[in-house]
Amino acid sequence: MSNLTQEQIKVLEQSRQRLVQLTRSLGSLIASLNQSDPLPPWTSLQSQASIISNNLISVSDQLSDQRDLLSNLVAYPGPEYPGRTQANTLEQLLRTKLDPRVEDWVARGRAAGTEPATGPSSNFSDPDAVHKPLSDAQLTQLWEWAPLEANQEARRRNWGGNFTLEEREAGIENVVTGLRRQLEDDDGEEEEEEEEEEESEGEEGDGEGMDVVGVHRKPGAAEFEFNIAPHHPHPVQPFVPLDLILRHMTTGRMP
């Protein structure tokens, strides 16, 4: 008989719950793929992908956080298990060998991680230079620095406004837009929105913060349409309705 502590059971229960979420999110992706032709809206695909990715992260976190317990826990069929008839299922449940494709994926990662890194090829200014792979320490340093820096950079941009930060700093009245209508400087609104967003999403660390970019970008073609009857800042509605005006014009009668 096993003697799992309540604490350990709780860990397993947590793992189970996270797996439930992951399974569900994958299930819903499959369902939405099946239901739409040819594809679901890209925004929906993207948000599903990010949900799956979050769930995956949470499973992965759990696995690494509870590594001590989970690597020391062994599972074996009890006498109640119908081993004779359901051997295949048991094998499937207790399998530790990786799926061939995953094996392949691991191998490629191993290759990339151990061989001297071939380096990102295309986007550096001089491709001739042979890049020395960074040392583990350097990598760690880079990876600690990069997310914060990237997020900061992202926050310094105004992703949805009519003016860039540079333009605003130089004074928006100097910007030559070539437009006759006045562009509103929506800085104020922007900040409000950002706040709302952050409230709703919650600050969940660096990975989450990156989403600032994704949510704000929405260049609908409709935005470029001129409004033929735009809102007037000071609308004045007539006091006398049309039919009374016409009546007055016809008979001279005062309303």
């Binding site: 033929i228 007037h232 006398v240 049309l242 016409l246 009546r247 014009m249 016809t250 008979t251 001279g252």
Partner: protein, 270 residues
């Protein structure tokens, strides 16, 4: 003749923009119009108009038409006279006879060097409109109409002789656009200052800036209309309303052109 119209109320803040939109649509500059409109009301069934002495200046054709359109029911009818901006707030001409004698008939006012307004030379047109046709055959205001040129100057006497009393008068200011066979008139009503109703048309016009708005917010009425020669020709009547609907579609994002309330255009005198 028949007049088919669509109407819209245009709030004053939209006026400037609508002018530009109409100028763009019709590819023409707005033609500014000022009109005196005198309202007359029948007090008896008119008899033969030709017997009165006041109508001797009328052309025979006009006379017949007048008789035809004034006989029958008792109606409100309008006498419309074009005026120019310089007529407002100006004095009567000093020497009427010599100054006016040589003038071309088509330009009765405003061409002398100092602005003056001569009521005796004011051209007038009698504009008759029947109550719009009942029934909703099509969604436009369709009414029998007729117009005739009247002798210049004082029309009250002639109108009295036809059985019409002067009721009131006002001024219409606005801009006219032409879009193919549609006339588009964006206008509003101005009242004379002082308000007190005179029993006769004015012989002098006050300064334009002293005129008061009938509709206090300053809103405008947009009327788009087509005149059809023969109202009994269904084909032409249909063409006309289709043209008006076309215009309504083109303008729908700016204004909503609609059929007017029939009773608001009721010209019958009770």
């Amino acid at each position: 003749m028949h007049e088919q119209s669509l109407f819209a109320s245009v709030p004053v803040h939209q006026h400037h923009e609508l002018l530009q939109q109409l100028a763009g649509l019709t590819a023409m500059q707005p033609r500014h119009c000022l009109e005196r409109r005198l309202i007359f009301k029948a007090y008896r069934k008119p008899g033969m108009a030709g017997r009165t002495g006041a109508s001797q200046d009328l052309q025979q054709g006009d006379l017949q038409r007048l008789n035809k359109m004034l006989n029958g029911n008792m109606y409100y009818t309008q006498v419309v006279g074009p005026v120019s901006e310089s007529d407002f707030g100006s004095t009567a001409p000093v020497d009427q006879d010599t100054q006016m004698a040589g003038m071309d008939d088509s330009k009765p006012y405003g061409s002398s060097s100092s602005p003056s307004y001569d009521y005796e030379r004011q051209p007038w047109k009698l504009e008759f409109r029947d109550i719009p046709e009942a029934g909703t055959r099509s969604a436009v205001t369709s009414r029998l109409m007729s117009s005739a040129t009247l002798p210049r100057g004082d029309v009250v006497q002639a109108m009295n002789a036809w059985g019409y009393n002067f009721v009131t008068e006002y001024v219409v200011e606005g801009d006219m656009f032409i879009h193919n066979d549609i006339a588009i008139f964006l206008h509003r009503v101005l009242h004379y200052p002082g308000g007190d109703e005179l029993s006769l048309p004015r012989r002098q016009l006050p300064a334009l800036k002293d005129m008061t708005l009938f509709e206090k917010s300053g809103s405008y009425v947009l009327q788009a209309f087509i005149i059809v020669q023969d109202g009994s020709n269904q084909e032409t009547m249909k063409t006309a309303s289709q043209h008006l609907f076309g215009l309504r579609e083109q303008l729908k994002s700016a204004v909503l052109l609609e059929q007017a309330d029939r009773l608001s255009l009721d010209t019958r005198a009770k």
